[in-house]
Amino acid sequence: MSLAAQLPALQVVVPLLTAPLLVLLRGPSLAWAAATAASLTSFAIAIALTAAVLGQGALHYEMGGWQAPFGITLDIDALGALMLLLITGASSVALVSGRESLARDIDPGRLHLFYAAWLIAVAGLSGIAVTGDAFNVFVFMEISSLATYVLIAAGPDRRALTATFKYLIMGTIGATFYLIGVGLVYMMTGTLNFADMEVRVADVTDQLPILVAAGFITVGLALKAAVFPLHLWLPNAYTHAPHIVTAFLAACSTKVAIYVLLRFDFFVFQGNLEDHAFQFSMFLAPLALLGILVGSAVAMVEGNLKRLLAFSSVAQIGYILLGASFASEAGLTAAVAHMFNHALAKGGLFLAVAAIAMRVSGVRLTDIGGVGRRMPWTTAGLVIAGASLVGIPGTAGFVSKWLLLQAAFQQGTLGIMAAVVVILSSLAAVVYVWRIVEQAYFGEPAAEGITVGEAPWPLLAGVWMVALANIYFGVSPELPVALAESAAGELLRHLP
């Protein structure tokens, strides 16, 4: 068998096996180099897999040659490929550009352990995206969560610990709910393989445990995905984590939970449970709308830059869910495309914040006064990513906003209400992005702790790479839209 055929497994194996090596390497520079190399390799694998999925459709891989449902299978469809691109891409950009920022935030004696945890997180998140086994998802989820707790707890001050604790409690509850749900499904069907479940659930749809399982799984994953009102862990975790970690997590971690949610609900329950599409929509759409409104409103008045962006994430997760809750092709396309575009916008913004934090004393809005004059390039990158978050045409964010509004208009009266909420939230985004921009260009510089000059060049290059990607995918959005359309088609196969 050629190496190319093993890529689905290597996607997880490369970071997972590099992680223990890092512990042996010890030296911070060496550890960084190895971690970056592993992450870039994973990114290359993800690109190859995406190309294969686009070319020949979904990939199927049997671990150790054991056939499903006895063995574990890896299944990569368009949605999974998109997730892999996000996870490994965000990790690579963050690692390549974030070395000096991380060296500032973390004790050098533990830096190699930190990088090991990073790779384990990448392995866990990638594992969720590739596996075709429900219990496997739980295992990888725990792997990635435990590693993520470590990454967040590495934050520069002690508040990171309480933030981590909050996340740990809520994350564990979410994972447990998911496990309970999977257990119930297993009890009723005797299988853990997604594809197998899809067929076997049909025999037991009238049984209460399946309904209970659907509830547990949806709520548990919603907790992981920080769906309003279960988002409480997210702002603190994002705020107090090291800046580079925030950029990485904001780009992909919650989206992976949404990915599992979509897979479970659309593949396993949709089409098997009576009226599931309706219940799914009616349960999630109001939460999505509330999340959009509350997240945007809080972001408008928040004074801490990272917390502001974190609340914006709560709103953006609402966009994704809103699109999914339409349960239409246009809606799911918009949702999946927005996962990609929001990762670009928010990842770019958090990277820019990391760059600015290298040169000013804090990340409150008052701390960044006048950085536009001292760090013109970094700030310009921040403006571009911010424009993408708002949805200015010509940026990636505009594409998904367009798709989402278009999907909303197809939904009739309720859809127009949703469109109004989305537009209001876009206007709120104008306000909160503008607060940052205006402060950066016209604010008074804080008196103390000012170092003149741009951020280190790798970080600046990272910011600009993401900023340019925002423009590139705004002008030629074929890749995310093609993946999103394909994913939407697959997700809808059980619906009329």
Partner: protein, 487 residues
């Protein structure tokens, strides 16, 4: 060079110029040369398209395929041709003026000023040549964003507050109303490409037409239809060349140009005429004309008075488009040109007065005609054009709008135009009278004309205002293609 290439060159040239301006930033003379060369080449490129369009050619180019059959595409039709030709020609004059103004006032950050100006012009070309609503929207937003630094140029507290109003209103209306309108159009019509006769005909009827029209007209905040006009007086904190080219010509005309284009190519004139629910636009425009003129009467600051005058004059174009007769559509296009010459002259004069004497208020202008005869002569000609007195350009467009209104016996439009002519006279004539015939108060600053580039520029545009009265046939020929044969 094929016409398609010419379009691309017209779009890219100002951007290349912007890069050149950045590179030449350290040497002011070289930098200004780059601006002038860019402006001149742009005008040559744009004007070279005119013969083709006159002969009925409609060249186009697709830049990128987006999603769902949407494209980023540009094409040239008579209305856009006119707008682009106007903006590119006036950019040259305005650049000459800018040199005199910016140096005469020792403004800071002049490189940024010229760069943003060039980017804004690129966006204007994009708006003028956009082949579909999506492309137009993209360029429209780029225009808003690239003019923000120009409005906020001074950078002090009051300026930033005004600039925030500017950006806030323009972005909020475009994202909040225009974008939904475009998506709605796409949902019902399945296309966004500007098509003669409109794309909504047969796809949308009843009150929804009026609602969609409202989303468009108020979403296009740059057209400054009340109540979304507040950004225009706020934008007057910008240096005068910005007010002159952008807030008397390029930006505001991009607004009314878009409104006209939407009425002609999206709704379709005949389709909209047959649909009573769109009739409110006429009244909204009429109200804006009268109200803006009344507010202009009460202004004490020269630039603010001109801003309210602009709001009124912009609604002339909207009113003319909303009358929905062939002659009035031509009148709308002609008024875009006629008002441009006149208003840019007025702003040039206001800036020249400020540069020479630091005077900004109306009551300070007594007797200034003796000190600045050229400037005030130009001011007088332009003001007469605003009122619509022959032999100025303003008379021509008013003629067509009135003729169009009589075609459909539209007495609301006729009455509005007459009343607003009286009001225009009421706020311009006292200023002119005081400038020429009142005695200058004692103890004022001793000054003469502004630097010569500024005076030269305003003389050119004043001459154009007069010249347009006599030589308007090419514009009429071009725009009569808009409505087919004049009935």
């Amino acid at each position: 060079m094929s016409p398609a290439d010419t379009i691309l060159v017209a779009l890219l040239l100002p951007l290349v110029g912007a890069v050149g301006i950045v590179l030449a930033g350290r040497w002011p003379n070289l930098r200004e040369t780059v601006t002038l060369v860019t402006a001149t080449s742009l005008a040559i490129v744009v004007w070279s398209l005119i013969p083709l369009i006159m002969d009925g050619g409609r060249p186009g180019v697709v830049v990128a395929e987006l999603f769902g059959g949407l494209t980023l595409a540009f094409s040239v039709e008579p209305l856009g041709m006119l707008f682009a030709a106007l903006a590119s020609a006036l950019w040259i004059v305005n650049s000459v003026y800018s040199i005199g103004y910016m140096r005469g006032n020792n403004e800071k950050n002049q490189t940024r000023f010229y760069v943003c100006f060039a980017v804004a012009l690129s966006a204007v070309m994009g708006v003028a040549f956009a082949d579909n609503l999506l492309t137009l929207f993209l360029c429209y937003e780029l225009l808003t964003l690239s003019t923000y630094p120009l409005v906020a140029h001074k950078g002090d507290e009051a300026t930033i507050r005004s600039a925030r109003i500017y950006l806030g209103i323009l972005l909020a209306t475009s994202i909040g109303l225009l974008l939904p309108a475009i998506i709605w159009t796409y949902t019902v019509a399945g296309t966004l490409t500007f098509t003669p006769g409109g794309i909504l005909a047969g796809n949308l009827e009843g009150p929804a037409v009026g609602l969609l029209l409202g989303l468009y007209v108020f979403g296009i905040g740059k057209a400054a239809l009340m109540p979304v006009h507040r950004w225009l007086p706020a934008a007057m904190v910008a240096p005068t060349p910005v007010s002159a080219l952008l807030h008397a010509v390029a930006v505001v005309k991009a607004g009314v140009f878009t409104v006209t284009k939407v009425i002609i190519y999206v709704f379709g004139v005949e389709n909209l005429f047959a649909e009573p629910s769109g009739g409110w636009l006429l009244y909204a425009a009429a109200f804006t004309i009268i109200a803006a003129s009344v507010v202009a009467l009460r202004q004490q600051n020269l630039k603010r008075m001109l801003a309210y005058s602009t709001i009124g004059q912009l609604s002339y174009v909207v009113l003319a488009a909303a009358v929905l007769t062939p002659l009035s559509e031509i009148g709308a296009a002609v008024h875009i040109v006629a008002h441009a010459f006149g208003k840019i002259t007025l702003f040039f004069a206001a800036g020249a007065i400020y540069t020479a004497s630091k005077k900004t208020e109306l009551h300070q202008l007594r007797g200034i005609g003796a000190r600045m005869p050229w400037t005030m002569a130009a001011f007088t000609i332009a003001a007469l054009s605003m009122i619509g007195v022959p032999p100025t350009g303003g008379f021509v467009s008013k003629w067509f709008i009135l003729a169009g209104s009589f075609q459909s016996d539209n007495y609301v439009a006729i009455f509005t135009i007459i009343l607003s002519t009286v009001l225009n006279a009421a706020y311009f004539l006292p200023v002119i009278f005081a400038a020429w015939f009142s005695r200058e108060p004692e103890g004022g600053k001793d000054h003469g004309e502004a630097p010569w580039p500024a005076v030269l520029a305003l003389c050119i545009t004043a001459a154009a205002t007069l010249g347009f009265f006599f030589f308007n046939q090419p514009v009429l020929d071009l725009e009569s293609q808009l409505v087919g044969r004049i009935k």
